[in-house]
C-alpha cells in the first residue's frame, strides 16, 4: 500500500471515530466543517484512492496467480526455451515482470483496461459460481494490436524483413487480416498442455 493512502486512511479513521464518539462537536461551525471533511470529503478521496490501489494490484502477476487455474500459465513464463514466446518476453524483461500477464492481456484501445477488468469479473463468476472449462481459451483471437503496441516500432521488428517483404504485409498485420500467431509465423503462446516435463528456468540464473 502506498504511504499516502495509509496516511489518508489513518486520518479518515481517526476523524470518523472522533465524530462517532463525540457528534456534539458539530454544534459549532468549526465542528460542522470538520464533519464535512471527515464524513464526506476524506472518505470520498480515500475510497477513490482505494479503488485505484485495487486496480493496480489486480494488474500484477501475483494477483493472476491467486486463481488455481492460472498456475500453469504462470509456470509457462519460466520455461527454459529461448523460442517460447511467453518465456522470452518474461525472462528478457520485454514486459515488466510484475505485470507480465496484464501487459499482453489488456486491450490497447480506449477503455481497454476497463474492459479487461470487466472480463475479470466474469472470470470470478465462472470460478465461484459456474464451471471452469478444462482448456482456457481467449474470448476472441489475440489481436495483433497488442503485439504491435510494443513491437511495432522496435528496431528488431523493423529489421526483420518478413514483416516488410511487400507493401501489403504490414497493412494486413495492422488491420488484423494477417495474424502474428494464427498465420503460422509465431508459435501459439501458453500451450500449457504441452509443457509437462519441460526444463524450467529459475530467476537470477543465466
Amino acid at each position: 500500500m502506498q504511504p499516502e493512502l495509509i496516511a489518508l486512511l489513518v486520518v479518515s479513521l481517526a476523524l470518523l471515530l472522533f465524530l462517532a464518539v463525540r457528534p456534539s462537536v458539530t454544534r459549532g461551525p468549526g465542528g460542522r466543517a470538520l464533519a464535512f471533511l471527515g464524513v464526506f470529503l476524506l472518505p470520498g478521496i480515500t475510497l477513490f484512492a482505494g479503488f485505484e490501489q485495487h486496480m493496480e494490484s489486480s494488474k500484477t502477476k501475483q494477483f493472476c496467480m491467486t486463481c488455481h487455474v492460472m498456475r500453469d500459465y504462470g509456470k509457462s513464463l519460466m520455461v527454459d526455451d529461448n523460442e517460447y514466446i511467453p518465456a522470452v518476453h518474461y525472462q528478457n524483461n520485454y514486459v515488466p515482470r510484475e505485470k507480465a500477464c496484464f501487459t499482453c492481456h489488456t486491450d490497447y484501445a480506449m477503455y481497454g483496461d476497463l474492459r479487461a477488468k470487466l472480463r475479470g469479473l466474469r472470470h470470478l463468476y465462472v470460478q465461484y459460481v459456474g464451471t471452469v472449462p478444462d482448456t482456457i481459451k481467449l474470448y476472441t483471437p489475440f489481436q495483433n494490436r497488442e503485439c504491435l503496441h510494443c513491437h511495432g516500432e522496435s528496431r528488431k521488428f523493423l529489421a526483420n524483413s518478413g514483416h516488410h517483404d511487400d507493401d501489403t504485409t504490414m497493412v494486413a498485420m495492422q488491420s488484423g487480416r494477417l495474424s502474428c500467431m494464427a498465420s503460422g509465423c509465431h508459435d501459439v503462446a501458453h500451450d500449457v498442455h504441452e509443457l509437462k516435463g519441460a526444463p524450467m528456468w529459475s530467476e537470477g540464473t543465466k
Binding site: L13, L16, P23, T26, R27, A35, G50
Partner: protein
C-alpha cells in the same frame, strides 16, 4: 443547527451524524482489510461491502445536513 436550536433537534441531528460517521467508519475499516488481501474476492469485498456501506454513510450525512437546514 445553531446553539439556539431546540435540544431535541440537536439530539436528532447528532444521532444522524453519529450513525453516518459509524457507517463510513465501518466502510473504511473494510477498505483497509480488503487492501491488505491480494485476491480477486477482496476487490468485491471492497466494492460490494465496504464501498456500499461508506456510500450509505455519506448519503446519510448529506441527508442529515438537509434535514438540519429545514
Amino acid at each position: 443547527m445553531s446553539e439556539f436550536a431546540p435540544p431535541h433537534r440537536q439530539v436528532v441531528a447528532e444521532r444522524r451524524i453519529r450513525i453516518a460517521a459509524s457507517l463510513v467508519l465501518v466502510g473504511m475499516v473494510i477498505e483497509v482489510v480488503s487492501l491488505n488481501i491480494l485476491h480477486p474476492l477482496s476487490f468485491l469485498l471492497f466494492l460490494g461491502v465496504g464501498g456500499l456501506t461508506a456510500a450509505v454513510g455519506i448519503a446519510w450525512f448529506l441527508l442529515a445536513l438537509l434535514k438540519a437546514g429545514e
